[in-house]
């Protein structure tokens, strides 16, 4: 592989990992809201979460651009107040991947939270745990399978996402050129198939390792729990 390709691999790993880890807390919070609370606008929130799935990735990328771009309201606000800049940065790629993976993350966690027996949560309450502690010590550990599944889906999606990423932060080698962007470029060149194939295998290998790791983790948790 060429140095450019190695760079793309490293960048993709960074982007996918960041996207997954950074969206986890938000994913957990929103999944919990959707699973356990009834509130005005719940349907809207649900639709919003699913939007990146429903919209063609290019459109999502476009929406990200007009929201988090340098001249866009939110983007400018974040840049001015927190120094967080997305445009043409790998952070923007991570944001795009995180957003694209978000519906998958939230669904998996939500399903798992809905499967947690609320009677156990009440039991924890009677033992003195306040709602936050109940979440941390009972709900969260019990919905770990969903968290793991959601994280791996988000990671895998990040390894494959390019439509929104390239539209939002374009394709700058070493900065925003992730593996899928590079693969895509190869597919657009007559005779580029071999290169695309090689990089595709790399991408599959990475994701397979991540998958196996997640399965092992889930199994260890599962063996310890079983149904009690």
């Amino acid at each position: 592989m060429t140095p450019e390709e190695w760079t793309a691999v490293r960048l993709s790993l960074l982007v996918a990992t960041t996207a997954t880890l950074a969206s986890l807390p938000f994913g957990l919070a929103i999944a919990w809201l959707l699973a356990r609370k009834d509130f005005w606008g719940k349907g809207l929130l649900d639709t919003l979460v699913h939007l990146p799935l429903i919209l063609p990735p290019v459109v999502t990328g476009y929406l990200l651009l007009i929201t988090f771009g340098r001249r866009a309201p939110v983007g400018a606000f974040l840049a001015d107040n927190f120094g967080i800049v997305f445009s043409f940065r790998w952070t923007g790629a991570a944001l795009a991947c995180g957003v694209m993976g978000f519906p998958l993350l939230v669904r998996a966690i939500r399903l798992s939270i809905e499967a947690v027996d609320t009677r156990l949560e009440s039991a924890a309450g009677t033992l003195g745990a306040n709602p936050l502690w109940v979440f941390a010590t009972v709900t969260l550990p019990l919905c770990l399978p969903g968290v793991i599944a959601g994280a791996i889906l988000c990671f895998a999606k990040s390894m494959g996402e390019f439509g929104a990423t390239i539209t939002f932060v374009s394709n700058i080698p070493g900065e925003t050129q992730t593996l899928p962007s590079l693969i895509y470029t190869f597919t657009q060149i007559p005779g580029g198939d071999a290169g695309a194939f090689r990089l595709t295998l790399v991408s599959i290998a990475i994701s397979m390792l991540a998958l196996l790791g997640s399965e092992l983790l889930a199994r260890r948790i599962g063996v310890r729990q079983m149904a009690a």
Binding site: L120, A124, G125, T126, L127, G128, A129, P131, Q225, A228
Partner: protein, 354 residues
């Protein structure tokens, strides 16, 4: 525990409407399956918010719908043993037991507690196991331990001993008695076992289809219980121990009682529960018979059962009330009628061992 309850609540088509207050000590909830016992315990525990009403323990108001008071369950400092054990499946037995410690650590000697509770419940060999691999009884014992170790100010126990063998029950019962008496812990206790209730309860509350149909001191209520096993409770003091025969001699107003060796010091007040079916009546003092306890008394009333085959004969033994359950035939044969002097014969082994 000086528990005051006055609540209405509807669950589906079931309506509970309960109002009573109970003296400090252990309050037993008694009633048939589906009569609303667990619902009531849930209301006290804060798991169910009643539609209307008020709950107070030792004067502390937990719920008052009128004044919009509802203390959340994690602030009630309760130890709740659920009818279904509700162990945390992701935590080992040890961590299940110690779960409450994270939140109520003001009491110091918690690690000593763990050892003694583990010992009492015989779950030492299970500490590193996961709940999923426990047997039904083991699970329930861990659940009891978990509630006890939360250092509760109130104990709620919903059929805690139902899945345990008699030997294990016999070990746990005295411990609950100690909690009630020494630690002065208010306890709300659901059980289908008259023997358990008789032994433990200060106050008995009988629920029937969501309504309180009787409430009062254990002695008054148990004989009314629709349980086929009415009985009497005598207040007594430990007079002495008869070590060679492993007996304890109690004195009560009704007379002297010899019971299996109690683990209580001389002078201590104890309560003797005598099942109606364990009492024989004789017109003259029996001789050369194995029963050690003979109490003289006078028939106060003969209350035939609904179906007529049996009757409860109520006696006054020097001021103490005693009930005997006899066949209608014996009642006729002996000519039992109010005013007749009789002798109640009770075997020592009839008394529950402790």
């Amino acid at each position: 525990m000086s528990l005051e309850i006055d609540v209405d609540h509807t669950r589906g088509s079931f309506r509970i409407s309960a109002r009573f207050s109970a003296a400090p000590g252990l309050t037993a909830l008694f009633g048939r399956s589906g009569s609303g016992k667990s619902t009531l315990v849930d209301i006290v525990g804060g798991l169910v918010k009643p539609d209307r009403g008020r709950v107070a323990i030792d004067g502390q108001v937990l719920v008052d719908t009128e004044r919009n008071v509802f203390v959340p369950k994690h602030l009630r400092r309760i130890g709740y043993v659920f009818q279904d054990s509700r162990l945390f499946p992701h935590l080992s037995v040890r961590r299940n037991l110690l779960y409450g410690r994270w939140f109520n650590r003001q009491v110091g000697a918690a690690s000593a507690d763990l050892a003694s509770v583990v010992d009492l419940l015989g779950i030492g060999h299970l500490l590193e196991r996961q709940p999923a691999s426990l047997s039904g009884g083991e699970r329930q014992r861990v659940a009891i331990g978990r509630a006890l170790l939360a250092h509760p100010q109130v104990l709620l126990m919903d059929e805690p001993l139902a899945s345990l063998d008699e030997a294990r029950r016999a070990e746990i019962l005295p411990y609950i008695e100690r909690l009630r008496d020494e630690a002065g812990l208010p306890i709300l206790y659901v059980s289908h076992s008259v023997a358990e209730v008789a032994r433990l309860a200060t106050t008995v509350v009988i629920l029937t289809e969501g309504k309180v149909t009787a409430v009062g001191p254990v002695a008054d209520i148990l004989s009314q219980a629709d349980s086929g096993d009415g009985g009497s409770v005598l207040d007594a003091q430990v007079a002495r121990h008869d070590e060679p025969f492993q007996l304890t001699v109690l004195t009560s107003r009704a007379g002297e009682l010899q019971v299996p060796r109690l683990n209580a010091p001389v002078g201590a007040s104890v309560r003797a529960y005598i099942r109606g079916r364990d009492v024989m009546l004789s017109l003259k003092p029996p001789e050369e018979i194995s029963a050690l306890n003979v109490l003289a008394g006078r028939v106060v009333a003969v209350v035939p059962d609904k179906n007529g085959g049996q009757a409860e004969v109520r006696l006054d033994c020097n001021g103490d009330a005693l009930a005997a359950r006899l066949t209608a035939k014996s009642v006729q044969r002996l000519g039992l009628a109010p005013g007749l002097p009789v002798y109640a014969v009770i075997k020592s082994v009839s008394f529950e061992r402790s």
